[in-house]
């Protein structure tokens, strides 16, 4: 398995030791979860329960007043400016 590629997709830096360790652990875990292959699921089930999973809608109204939570939320933001979250360039 391409641990390197996965780490990139998951946006996690990994040391080379950890990559090696994960490679071994994943082999064991994947072997374990592959037990599902034996399960007989060929009766046309699409995998999602029809009775319990349904969309819950509400009217798009009663918005809170603008800025009500801004200060509280920005308190946890590493970088902000003029009431905005500050981010580095996405495209260079």
């Amino acid at each position: 398995m391409e641990i390197e590629k996965l780490a990139k997709l998951a946006r996690i830096n990994l040391s080379s030791e950890e990559k090696e360790k994960l490679q071994k652990e994943f082999e064991a875990i994947l072997k374990y979860i592959s037990a599902l292959k034996e399960a007989d699921t060929d009766d046309g089930e699409n995998g999602f329960s029809k009775t319990e999973t349904l969309n819950v809608m509400r009217p798009d109204e009663n918005a809170h007043e603008t800025g009500k939570f801004t200060e509280d939320l920005l308190e946890g933001v590493p970088f902000s400016e003029n009431g905005y979250v500050k981010v580095k360039h996405v495209f260079e």
Binding site: E25, A39, V77
Partner: protein, 490 residues
């Protein structure tokens, strides 16, 4: 007045009779915490406003608030406005919650006093609390052993008399397994019975907040205070009232199924405890039969596909931009990668990677899509098992975990071994069912009467009911508890 062995129910009476004030009660537990927390590592933070809050309640008077003055502990992944909520992670070490979880709001209006936040496996992933960034919680029955996880701190807090009850969260077994390891009661509610608003998300189709307490009755009191539909969680629902023919109806001659399972790899004493418990239920007048669920053997492997998949998307939010830790790199992508390397612990990284894998193009059908289908098979197994018209049962009993509390370090370096802790707890989660762990007690010896095995460690029993069958669990659990406490004196 001795406050040892107090329950919520007993404390309620003392408070109502004005034999004790809310402040005195809180002070008693704070003193216990101060004495024991160093050794057991239960509380990550003891709230310095707990005594003040209790004092305020004393001034208000008890009214009809069901948890008035009752000191509770809260797992570190449930938000309390203005308090740090770290989910046992370095990522959120300094994160202050900006609002109350719905369960907390409800407990506040019920009059509860919050003593502090309890240790847990990082982001609720683990079965021992060894994955906490703040050190493992030890088992109050044996400090060389783990308290279980991921709600190990909440379980140990109740077991060491560091609170009268606690909130935990259960995704694959995180309330029931530590409850079993620590000798207390832990309820994983029906999916949707308790709002998840304000619970830091791990795997959203499984996560549930639930009560941990010394007795079934206490767990029921907390559950009744936190349950119900909430507009902030569209999957939450009010428990439907039981009506004639509904599977969760209580009373009468109930049928209990004894789960057929592979006894190899399960402690001998645990196998015996399930059989002996079945005998107790039989003597109590329940009809006992063996029950087979052919597909539940797939539950744990299924769980370890679906949960990591949900984890990998839920934890994408920790990027060093909106909240939590930030580590600087050369550009935005590097910021993400460095922040997530520094903020997440090993198991969290492992699960995110695993989830990314099972969701990635080329593997999605073989793992994620297949697991969704298997989840449906497991649900059907339970539906059949609870179908009373066709020889089904009202509830199912089984072990909670294959072993009693294990030694610290015993499984920490083998992720797969740790995952196997979930083999008995994952099935109920697949179908969103309520399941409760209660301490087993038997009459033969003083240790067994106290609910301990030959090594002095607690063994739990799991009872599983149909969706919204919490009432059934409470009824059955209380009868068992009452009967086994009688035999205590025999």
């Amino acid at each position: 007045m001795s406050l040892n062995n107090l329950t919520i129910k007993k404390a309620r009476k003392l408070l109502a009779d004005k034999e004790i004030s809310a402040k005195e009660l809180a002070a008693y537990f704070l003193k216990n915490i101060e004495e024991k927390n160093k050794d057991i590592n239960v509380y990550l933070e003891v709230f310095d406003d707990a005594l003040n809050e209790a004092e305020k309640l004393d001034k208000d008077g008890i009214g009809n608030r069901p948890l008035w003055g009752i000191p509770l502990a809260v797992k570190d992944n449930i938000l309390m406005e203005g308090k740090i909520c770290s989910a046992g992670s370095k990522m959120l070490q300094n994160y202050k919650a900006s609002y109350d979880a719905t369960a907390i709001k409800k407990l506040k209006s019920a009059g509860a006093v919050f003593l502090g936040r309890t240790n847990m496996d990082e982001f609720a992933m683990g079965a021992s609390t060894e994955n906490s960034a703040y050190g493992a919680t030890k088992n109050p029955h044996d400090l060389t052993r783990v308290a279980g996880g991921s709600s190990g701190g909440s379980a140990a807090a109740v077991a060491m008399d560091g609170c009268l009850g606690a909130l935990g969260s259960d995704t694959g077994g995180s309330i029931r397994q530590p409850a079993s390891f620590c000798g207390i009661v832990g309820l994983n509610p029906t999916y949707g019975a308790v709002s998840r608003s304000g619970l830091i998300a791990m795997a959203s189709s499984f996560d549930q907040i639930g009560p941990m307490a010394k007795t079934v009755e206490d767990a029921e009191i907390i559950f009744n205070a936190i349950k119900g539909k909430d507009s902030m969680d569209s999957t939450s629902r009010d428990c439907p009232l039981s009506s004639k023919g509904s599977p969760w109806i209580s009373g009468g001659k109930l049928k209990i199924g004894l789960l057929k399972y592979d006894k190899n790899g399960v402690d001998k004493e645990i196998n015996e405890s399930v059989e002996k418990s079945a005998k107790i239920f039989k003597d109590l007048g329940y009809e006992i039969s063996e029950i087979e669920l052919p597909n539940i053997k797939y539950s744990a492997p299924c769980y370890y596909i679906l949960a990591p998949a949900e984890v990998s998307s839920n934890l994408a939010r920790f990027d060093g931009v909106k909240y939590g830790l930030f580590k600087e790199g050369k550009n935005l992508t590097e910021d993400y990668m460095k922040t997530r390397e520094a903020g997440f612990g090993q198991e969290t990284r492992r699960r995110i990677m695993l989830g990314t894998y099972v969701l990635s193009a080329g593997y999605y059908d073989a793992y994620y899509a297949k697991a969704q289908k298997v989840r449906e098979l497991i649900k059907k197994d339970f539906e059949r098992a609870f179908d009373l018209k066709n020889g089904g049962v009202n509830a199912i009993i089984s072990p909670v975990s294959p072993s009693v509390a294990f030694k610290k370090g015993e499984k920490a370096n083998d992720p797969l071994k740790m995952y196997l802790e979930d083999i008995f707890t994952a099935p109920a989660k697949m179908a969103g069912l309520p399941a409760m762990s209660i301490p087993t007690r038997f009459a033969e010896t003083p240790a067994k009467r106290a609910g301990l095995n030959s090594e002095g460690l607690p063994i739990g029993l799991q009872i599983t009911a149909p969706r919204f069958g919490e009432n059934l669990l409470f009824e059955i659990g209380k009868k068992y508890e009452h009967d086994t406490s009688k035999s205590k004196m025999a």
